[in-house]
């Protein structure tokens, strides 16, 4: 079963929830924590280890000018503008290429060669018998985020229980992370910004037919804004995390509150049980 922890808005507590949840759930069975926030993976901070590293490549075209007739077929086909066919040469813009492979198919002169391009790496750590951490890491300066996320998902695809830490936002990296999962848990905060980005994420998940549930973080008791929205949209609120100083201190020290405080362990254990029950029932 694959479950995503996402938020829409950045900084609402995705990693707080996924790190604690991963630790707590690993105490009762095997679980894989997958960091899909490949532009700034940070789950590793809470689980230091020496990882195994697997490079991620995408396929990009290399033009053999000696065979190229400058017919323009590849340039016409490429909707991303990565190939510009001029009268005497072909320009290739690697950062615009989506590695769809279409240019290889449309070239009538076999002038394009499939070339690998390094875009990042996936790091795996077996932290205990029951807890595995898999982190995607995009090459600095690169934009091909989804290729690295896809590799993280391929490498964890057959694991029995996977908790995916999503990148913020609701664009391509988020969609690559949530595609075909059993449940997406949205961590939000009781502010107008939290509500706005939550509603955007909920709308995207609705289009993708992925069940959603909500965790309210930094609750100070006045969560009507979020609760009313969730009631209207039929979304269960699985947990409220209070604005709690010891939790913030633990988090800022790279520690896990659930490892330090049995009361917090129980709270996250209850969240894990609710998630599994809801994902099982919803999917």
């Amino acid at each position: 079963m694959q479950i995503v922890i996402a938020s829409g808005k950045g900084g609402t507590g995705k990693t707080t929830v996924s790190s604690n949840l991963g630790y707590v759930m690993s105490q009762s069975g095997p679980i894989t924590l997958a960091d899909c926030d490949v532009e700034e993976p940070n789950l590793g901070i809470f689980f230091p280890c020496v990882p195994e590293t697997h490079p991620v490549h995408v396929i990009i075209p290399k033009v053999h000018e000696s065979q190229c007739m400058h017919c323009g077929a590849c340039g016409e086909f490429c909707r991303f503008g990565a190939l510009t066919v001029l009268k005497d040469r072909v320009l290739f813009f690697p950062q615009l290429c989506h590695s769809c492979g279409g240019c290889f198919r449309v070239c009538p002169h076999e002038a394009l060669e499939e070339n690998p391009a390094y875009v990042g790496e996936v790091q795996t750590c077996h932290l205990s018998d029951s807890l595995t951490l898999v982190s995607g890491k995009l090459k600095e300066g690169d934009v091909r985020t989804t290729a690295v996320i896809r590799r993280v998902r391929e490498m964890t695809g057959t694991d029995p229980l996977v908790l995916l830490d999503s990148p913020p936002g609701t664009a391509c990296p988020f969609i690559e992370t949530v595609d075909d999962v059993s449940l997406c848990v949205l961590v939000t905060e009781p502010t107008p910004f939290g509500l706005h980005d939550l509603s955007v994420a909920v709308n995207v998940l609705e289009v993708l037919h992925i069940p959603a549930a909500v965790v309210i973080n930094r609750s100070e008791g006045n969560d009507e804004l979020i609760e009313e929205y969730c009631a209207t949209r039929g979304l269960p609120v699985l947990m409220k995390i209070p604005l709690d100083f010891p939790l913030l201190t633990a988090q800022n020290n790279g520690d896990l509150i659930s490892r330090m405080d049995p009361a917090w362990f129980e709270r996250f254990k209850e969240l894990g049980e609710k998630i599994l029950a809801y994902a099982g029932g919803a999917s």
């Binding site: 323009g72 503008g81 510009t84 066919v85 320009l91 615009l96």
Partner: protein, 110 residues
């Protein structure tokens, strides 16, 4: 020789478009026959990479000179490689006025 000016509208009295890759139309002036035709930019609504795509469109239309306000990095690279001369022009004028200004002083690649 073909001179291209990005345009907001279908006629040469339209204002010059201040974008290149996402320009709504391109006006193609033919200096030999003293004629002009305006064409829809097929890449204006593309999701990305529209700069190089528009450059390719200009190459296909045998453009030698582009009068434009500003260019993105990819468009600039593609235009340089294609040998199209770029003349910078403040877009606060009509397409016809931009062309006339160049014609009056073709050496002035300001």
């Amino acid at each position: 020789m073909i001179v291209c000016v990005p345009s907001r509208g279908l006629t040469v009295d339209s204002q010059m478009d201040d974008r290149f890759g996402r320009a709504a139309y391109f006006a193609f002036f033919d200096t030999d026959s003293d004629s002009v035709r305006v064409e829809l930019n097929p890449h204006a609504g593309g999701s990305g990479g529209v700069g190089p795509m528009a450059a390719q469109f200009l190459v296909k239309n045998n453009v030698q000179i582009l009068i434009a306000p500003r260019l993105g990095g990819n468009a600039d690279e593609a235009l340089k490689a294609s040998g199209i001369t770029v003349i910078m022009q403040n877009p606060d004028v009509t397409v016809q006025a931009a062309y006339n200004a160049w014609k009056a002083n073709p050496e002035n690649a300001s």
